[in-house]
């Protein structure tokens, strides 16, 4: 049973249906709420926290919070922008992201988000963790250096592919995406055609031998900033410094 209701985001009234999350309702109305872990069709993970908005004054993640009648939501405030920038910077310094020679550059949602938020370089110190690369699979590579713990691959393998290739192992800052085998991805039933191979927002799960098929300059966020695919009135690339 779904009901149509109205909520407001930054003073704009938008329609919503009660089975929607705030993020879904905003998307439908052409309002972009920044996000990194949410992915259409997957159960929201709620881990990146970039979609944090104020709901009736209280911080909540838009991707996990169901809409309710009369919700008053703030999305674009200086405080939330600051908060999101901090979160994005945290993800940068936590791993080892060398965008300048990363195959994913230009298609990377983390990089795209940094550009959109006007981050030139993180003001936090790099933590420079030692992380591994798993190249045991013939067609797909996992570079843990670039993983941002969005959880998409874990969910996608279950939900889209009907498999169970991934799960988090370890905890605290030592956690990582583990694979369902003794020794690496190559031993699992993972295939390059799996949807789980397509959902990584960054360059952590990469198909081998296709890295530069699309040249730099012709990639998704080279053309228009992240989020413009949703916004009714997209920001022009220039305004994102």
């Amino acid at each position: 049973m779904t009901d149509s209701i109205t909520i407001s985001i930054d003073g704009v009234e938008i329609p919503a249906e009660t089975h929607h999350t705030i993020l879904e309702a905003a998307d439908k109305a052409g309002i972009y709420i920044p996000r990194l872990c949410a992915y259409p069709g997957l159960k929201p993970n709620g881990s990146c926290r970039v979609c944090t908005v104020l709901v009736n004054g209280r911080p909540q993640t838009a991707c996990t919070t169901p809409v309710m009648k009369g919700m008053v939501i703030q999305n674009e405030t200086p405080e939330l922008k600051r908060l999101r920038s901090n979160l994005i910077e945290m993800l940068f310094v936590e791993g080892n992201h060398y965008c300048m020679f990363c195959e994913k550059s230009g298609n990377c949602e983390l990089q795209g988000m940094a550009y959109r938020l006007g981050i030139k370089t993180p003001h936090f110190p790099y933590l420079e963790p030692k992380r591994e690369i798993d190249a045991t699979h013939p067609d797909v590579l996992i570079d843990h250096n670039r993983c941002i713990f969005c959880g998409r691959c874990i969910q996608a393998s279950k939900t889209f592919d009907g498999k169970n290739v991934f799960q988090y192992i370890g905890r605290t800052r030592n956690k990582k995406v583990g694979v369902n085998a003794d020794d690496g991805l190559g031993e699992t039933d993972f295939a390059a055609t799996d949807r789980a191979a397509q959902v990584c927002p960054v360059g952590a799960i990469l198909k081998k031998r296709v890295g530069f098929k699309i040249p730099i300059g012709k990639r998704i966020y080279d053309r228009s900033p992240i989020g413009s695919e949703i916004e009714v009135q997209p920001k022009d690339a220039g305004s994102a410094q």
Binding site: T64, L91, F149, F166, Q167, R171, K175
Partner: protein
């Protein structure tokens, strides 16, 4: 089948191959083999229908589980702040020297592993350690030598218990050297009780009337947050579900808290009576006690209490002759993860998963354990429940403050003459608490553990209750010789180690705050660092997914607010764009190593 395969198969079978019992299965494997190896994980996966990586995700989450072999005897020295105050470094050195290994290491003969662990709930008898499941308290470098000698001779940690503690610590199913330190008994929790009295009165009422009594008593959860218990029960009762559950939170992980330990030891009956009443009120037939792994030494005893209550008709079918009211309880042991005290993480853990908190909404009252409506309450809360039903809500509200009726059991430790457990009426002033504990030189008090706040003398007229100095029970007293900034650093270290790692702000932000604090303590701080810390703290507090992260900046925020001079004396002003935390020497060291000579340009 090999012997190994057979054993693991049998362990899985003993839990019906139910993957929701993963915590128990992995624990049993550890008991047998000292670790849960890759081979074991494959077999567990087969025996439960789980995937290998799912088993691994559990094994690698909990501090007490391990993929790699550990010593037959694992020594876990508690490195909580109170232990630090009472000479843990001598104890640590003695262990290291006697065993010939460092922390995090295992002896070559595979007999001993030495580790640190956060607060094990023994702050009133610190320094303390867990040796396998055996608790050893009041350690000194001398006692450590004796301990290691005994362990070398017998290999049996139980042999370390020479003198038994008081009360039920001496019970034949406990046999621990732990002391209750129960210094003040109040009318609610520690008054004498007779099993069945409260339950009988509850069963004479309708479930709705029971909830009404809890609401009239304005009972608020004793775990720390102070959420109204009656309201929680009402939501759970109203929620749709095939089954409903009552969970008792006995995870007691907040550093400096140990009152639940004493309640479990001396008032388990009262607590179980409260759980049964909750079951009746919300319509649940099943209860789970989530007992922290550190308190495993109480497990057999508690199982015996449960068994006795079954025998007496307080648990089981048609309780006290009430047709159709069935309620039973099992114990779920944790395995060393503070976050599992958070109620949704606790539920994850009971389901045999990593102790990650769950997305809210839905709340446990709607979808909790196994997606069914679930009430989670603290050990002490259930004791209050039983007493309210026994003596009436009117009796209860006469004690304590308006917003927080009743009593509060406090765990007091640190710089005072009489550390231990005290049951005070709610609304007691901090000054009165300090007086009773025999603390005369007091620079500060950490109230409610690192998740809450530090209070200086200007706050000693404030009162213990959920509307002022809220606490799950921890009171740690610091005298004038204690370094407040250093204490904040230790508490941040605790959060860094105990973050589940699920969400960005808590996983990364705490590390960043801690690094900055280290720089400051190292003399590499500058005034602008305080703004940097504030900004980070704000992000972590606002954006974190669960209460752990939302509270983790508090050691910094409350010390900055109330003990700012401690920071300022460490900070310098520097010319713009000069970063004192940048170490040029270290930055060029690797390059220097490569070229094989020192850089001439750097003055040393």
């Amino acid at each position: 089948m090999s012997e190994f395969e057979n054993t693991i198969h049998t362990i899985c079978e003993s839990y019906g191959g139910d993957r929701a019992r993963m915590m128990d299965i992995v624990r049993d494997v550890h008991e047998k083999y000292g670790c849960c190896s890759g081979k074991a994980m494959n077999l567990i996966a087969r025996g439960t229908g789980a995937h290998r990586v799912e088993v691994q995700s559990v094994v690698t989450f909990y501090a007490f589980y391990s993929e790699k072999p550990k010593g037959r005897v694992v020594i876990r020295l508690c490195n909580d702040i109170v232990d630090t105050m009472f000479g843990i470094e001598h104890v640590a050195r003695a262990f290291s020297e006697e065993l010939g290994i460092g922390f995090g290491e295992t002896t070559a003969d595979g007999r001993f592993t030495l580790e640190y662990t956060p607060c094990i709930g023994m702050s009133d008898q610190a320094p303390a350690a867990l040796i396998n499941e055996v608790v050893v308290t009041s350690l000194s470098s001398d006692s450590v030598r004796g301990i290691v000698r005994t362990l070398r001779e017998s290999g049996d940690p139980q042999k370390l218990v020479r003198r038994l503690g008081d009360g039920n610590n001496a019970h034949k199913l406990v046999r621990a050297m732990v002391q209750n330190g129960l210094r003040k008994k109040g009318p609610v929790v520690f008054a004498e009780m007779e099993s069945g009295n409260a339950l009988r009165k509850a069963l004479a009422l309708s479930p709705v009337e029971v909830i009404r009594d809890i609401k009239t008593a304005r009972l608020r959860g004793r775990g720390g947050a102070g959420f109204p218990a009656g309201m929680k029960w009402e939501f759970t009762r109203a929620a749709d579900g095939d089954r409903k559950f009552v969970m008792c939170n006995a995870d007691e992980g907040e550093p400096g808290t140990f009152k639940d330990r004493v309640i479990l030891t001396e008032r388990a009956d009262l607590m179980l009576e409260g759980m049964a009443i909750a079951g009746y009120a919300i319509g649940a037939q099943e209860g789970i006690i989530y007992l922290r792994g550190e308190y495993a030494y109480l497990r057999k005893f508690l199982e015996n209490v449960i068994e006795n209550r079954r025998r007496d008709g307080f648990l089981g079918k048609d309780i006290l002759g009430k047709k159709g009211f069935h309620f039973d309880v099992r114990i779920q042991l944790g395995a060393g993860a503070y976050v599992c005290g958070e109620e949704t993480a606790l539920i994850s853990s009971c389901e045999g998963l990593r102790g990650d908190p769950k997305t809210r909404p839905p709340f446990p009252a709607q979808k909790g354990y196994l997606e069914q409506p679930t009430v989670v309450n603290n050990v002490e809360t259930f004791c209050c429940v039983a007493r309210i039903l026994e003596k009436g809500p009117g009796w209860f509200v006469e004690m304590g403050s308006k917003g927080s009726p009743g009593t509060k059991v406090l765990s007091i430790s640190g710089d005072c003459n009489s550390p231990g457990v005290y049951e005070f009426p709610m609304g007691v002033t901090m000054a009165e608490v300090l007086r009773e504990a025999g603390a005369d030189d007091v620079q500060a008090v950490q109230v409610g553990g690192p998740s809450r706040e530090i209070v200086g003398p200007e706050g000693f007229e404030r009162v213990i209750c959920f509307d002022d100095l809220a606490t799950g029970g921890a009171i740690v007293i610091l005298n004038s010789s204690r370094n407040i900034t250093e204490m904040a650093r230790k508490y941040m270290d605790f959060f860094v180690e105990e973050s589940c790692g699920y969400c960005t702000p808590c996983r990364v932000g705490n590390v960043l705050m801690m690094k900055k604090l280290e720089d400051i303590l190292d003399g590499k701080g500058q005034l602008s660092d305080l703004d940097y810390l504030h900004d980070l703290a704000e992000t972590v507090k606002t954006a974190s997914r669960c209460g752990l992260g939302q509270a983790s900046p508090n050691p910094i925020l409350t010390t900055l607010e109330r003990f700012r001079p401690f920071y300022e004396k460490l900070l310098r002003t520097h010319p713009k764009n000069f970063d004192p935390s940048f170490d040029l020497r270290a930055a060029v060291a690797e390059a220097e190593g490569l070229v094989g000579r020192k850089s001439a340009a750097i003055e040393t």
